[in-house]
Symmetry: C2
Subunit: 556 residues, 2 copies
């Protein structure tokens, strides 16, 4: 076996075959670093779950080796697991990132009451060492400012990790993806490229953020009443363009929604968002302003039921209401799974009389991720020896792998990995090594990691088929049934004559109890199973439903 | 008030502000007719629900007036409520439609064991009278053959109901939308146009079905292993094109999935699908065929977990398995809400080694609904006095209303209606009259209409927060507590030390019981409320969850 100091181990713990919870571990000798620590938002297969974290037990077991956590940009799918990871790590581990990235992280850590943290700012274009790892921070464009790719040097091999990126030739802040730095890395040699696959299925180039500004100005010029723009609060470039178009149209920007208030404040404090104090207001300050002087900048572009936009659409926002003739711009695209929620909000807005402008009707949104031609350009600039597509479902990883082969990366040098699989790089090349602990950790209320597949499965059964309980009291002295059996059901439809059905079910129960008593059954587990079988059969016959059936036998 | 015989009442009972459960009632004098009787498929807001029907109690109350039910085409969102409606109507009411439409309906009615039915075939281009209503069946293109628009004549006014349609200039079966018949209706006068809004937000024209055939031939030419094509089983034109491309490539068509087997059989029997007996096989007959001689035609284009394609992707289909190098074509677009399910199946297919071709990577699907320019053309041909956009969410109805105004329909003659609103047309014009009973009826297992909002709400709480039961036995003679309280939870995460928490919860319960006993409380409702409050508070403090709490007090 190759000695530790002669091999680099690269282990994605999240972000493969999924969109979210991005996290990669790199190990060399006695040093370990982590790139990104993101969360994933649960879908309808995870009822009641608040957040999904990567299972990072592999990191916790090796915490002594951990030299630092490097974050590529400030989005939740790259930062959201940090509060949990830092808590679990105990001592302070340095977290490295650019200024805005750390500004957003700082806010999150404070919300989690994490005080003793070690945030180390690195300038885009800057360099930092962590043990035997050297990191170059390379500016890239994305739908949040201050994003970076990482050129990672080790004595064994080099890795270029793109983070999330696009190649915007006319970025709002004038900060281009640093092509020279990428070319320099290529010259020095890139053993492994790990690159963002989110839009690998999209042909061509992703449009420049600048076109959204032009569309917004057009819309603002035509609007005669109030304008409401919903967007991601972290998309500071988008927010900047809304602010610019508003000021140009002689309107004030009114900020609505907690995360929009927080992120505009942080971005202005740190110098990433530029608008005069006079031109930006809180929602409660807007009362005196006539509608034609206002642009409401709002959260809720994903149809989130508790967001500012959803409350506005439902007519229960404290200060903003829809009048006929108002214009609402949904300046975002629904994340897969949110399409129906977004449509629901749009329908409500139309009913309230608003004109709703969305991605389908005007160019009010562009993606923050590189499309196929940009991905090929990245591959051509970086000229990696090996390639691992990251950040995407399997379909995206496969599409990206195809692009790599199209620009000349040999098929055997492209690895479609899975979370927890270790890629080992030595002098003699790269190969897939063992699988380490990985998976998901559910955050459910105050619980982190206690929720398992059994409880999730229970919730799904409860949701689709409901629950039926049968409660029987047994005299502790003689084992005789005491009183009547109680039947409780929830989430179950018993048909038009519920009472008659419940009576019949009770009869079945008492028959079972008489039978087991007659047969001299004393084992409660056997009695319970008999009750479960009989009641389950009865309910299935009558309803074609299989509710969760819970027999309770009480000794009194 | 205008006498009944001088007014036409048009009442959409479904299909407005929603995609699905299309149904429209028309009343004149003592006659009533119904156009379409569709279902809607439930989404994640309706856990456990099988189907959603329109609430058609308005029709049932007037069953004596009902002269017939006219169906525009054979899709479930236009036919699926028929078995329920016919059962509820009791006696036989004529159901009118074209041959394929009735063929599909006949199959459904047999599944529901409805035997005494009166299906009356009308040829496309034919005419039929129902009381004082005259119906012209006008051929239109759609994603199922034999679809019609209806030109409906009454002594008071005329209505053109488009059904679902597109204007395909090169339809697979050569059967064009009948422009002459539409123009003739316009010449005779169309008081009210009701037109399909599904694609009103889509600019331009919907592509011809023919382009899919060209793409399929290309893919089949290149494929070296097995080919699997997933599509809607009712899309007989698509199925025809798959068959034609397969035969041209020297492959046999293997049919997989129950509805695909049924619909290809019906379509072949009725002369809508043309393929030699030798070229089409059942899945169990394929064993001897080499992979390069097979095209599997499969259900599951929507990612349905139990469909043939999902089972193939998961490796648990009886006869079809994926080998590296196989080609899978998803020849459909995900219905909103199904995106994630489709993606999940695609990811599994990629992992199994298949090449997956989908709408995003090749022109393997086109819509069956008219886009904006076609909708304008329909308006311009028909020249209606009044316009009601139908078949769409509010956003689509609004978009369609805008198109109508763009081609010159005065804004005051365009009515954006809601399900249950009655449009009354008299000599003096059209106006929105009263609202009639309307809404949804849930089919849940064997129950039709018993499931209400309370049970649905219960299921949502059960799914997200779980359930906690506390069971207390009380001696019937003296009201004293008998035995220990039992606590049962499901779907709830109590943290890492569940037992300790349950013990603590039991202590709380016994404290409450001691307190109420001491206070002399005998009303069980009060005891239960105290238990509910105390336990709810305790669980909230420890978990930040609000499970359903059910106290059961048993007298023994």
């Amino acid at each position: 076996m190759t000695p530790q100091k002669n091999r680099l181990r690269v282990i994605p713990l999240g972000g493969l075959d999924e969109i979210g919870k991005n996290m990669t571990v790199l190990e060399h000798g006695n040093d370990m670093v982590v790139v990104d620590a993101g969360i994933m938002f649960p879908d309808d297969d995870h009822p009641g779950v608040d957040l999904i974290l990567p299972d990072y037990s592999y990191i916790l077991k090796r915490r002594d080796k951990l030299k630092g956590i490097v974050i590529t940009h400030g989005h939740e799918d790259h930062t959201g697991a940090l509060p949990y990871l830092l808590k679990d790590l105990g001592g302070t581990v340095p977290v490295l990132g650019t200024r805005l990235t750390l500004g957003i992280i700082r806010g999150k850590l404070e919300e989690h009451k994490l005080k003793k943290t070690k945030l180390r700012e690195v300038a885009p274009g800057g360099h930092v060492n962590l043990g035997s790892f050297g990191f170059d921070f390379i500016p890239v464009n994305h739908s949040i400012p201050d994003g970076v790719a990482l050129y990672i040097r080790t004595p064994v091999a080099t890795v270029l990790h793109t983070g999330d990126f696009k190649l915007d030739q006319t970025p709002i802040d004038g900060r281009l993806t640093d092509y020279a730095a990428l070319a320099k890395a290529a010259r020095q040699g890139v053993t492994l490229l790990m690159s963002d696959s989110t839009n690998a299925e999209t042909p061509g180039h992703t449009s420049s953020e600048a076109i959204v500004g032009a569309t917004l100005r057009d819309i603002f010029d035509r609007a005669e009443q109030r304008i409401i723009v919903a967007s991601f609060s972290s998309h500071i470039h988008r927010v900047q363009q809304v602010c610019d178009a508003a000021v140009a149209a002689g309107r004030k920007v009114v900020v609505a929604g907690r995360s929009m208030v927080n992120n505009t404040r942080i971005a202005r404090e740190l110098g990433y968002l530029h608008i005069d104090d006079d031109d930006i207001l809180d929602a409660y300050q807007m009362e005196d302003l006539p509608p034609e002087k206002v642009v409401v900048l709002s959260t809720g572009s994903q149809g989130e039921p508790l967001s500012a936009l959803a409350r506005i659409a439902n007519g229960d926002h404290r200060t903003v209401s829809i009048e006929a003739g108002d214009t609402v711009v949904i300046s975002a695209t629904p994340v897969p799974g949110n399409e129906k929620a977004v449509s629901r909000v749009m329908n409500r807005l139309f009913k309230a009389g608003a004109e709703v402008v969305h991605k389908g009707s005007a160019r009010v949104h562009v993606s923050g991720h590189a499309a196929a031609e940009e991905l090929k350009l990245m591959l051509n600039i970086v000229q990696p020896r090996y390639f691992v597509p990251i950040h995407g479902e399997t379909r995206h990883l496969h599409a990206h792998a195809k692009l790599a082969q199209a620009v000349g990366v040999p098929a055997e040098n492209v690895f479609i990995m899975e979370n927890g699989l270790c890629l080992e790089i030595t002098e003699s090349g790269a190969e897939v090594a063992e699988r380490v602990d990985s998976g998901v950790t559910y955050v459910d209320g105050l619980s982190v990691g206690d929720l398992g597949q059994f409880v999730l499965r229970d919730r799904q059964v409860l949701a689709s088929d409901g629950i039926a309980l049968v409660i029987v009291a047994i005299d502790a002295r003689d084992g005789q049934i005491a009183g009547d059996a109680e039947l409780v059901t929830r989430g179950l439809v018993l048909g038009s004559d519920t009472d008659a059905m419940l009576d019949e079910a009770r009869e079945r129960v008492s028959k079972v109890l008489k039978r087991t008593a007659k047969e001299g059954v004393t084992d409660q587990a056997v009695v319970k199973q008999a009750l479960r079988d009989s009641l389950g059969q009865f309910i299935w016959e009558r309803t074609r439903r299989r509710p969760m059936i819970i027999p309770v036998v009480m000794e009194v």
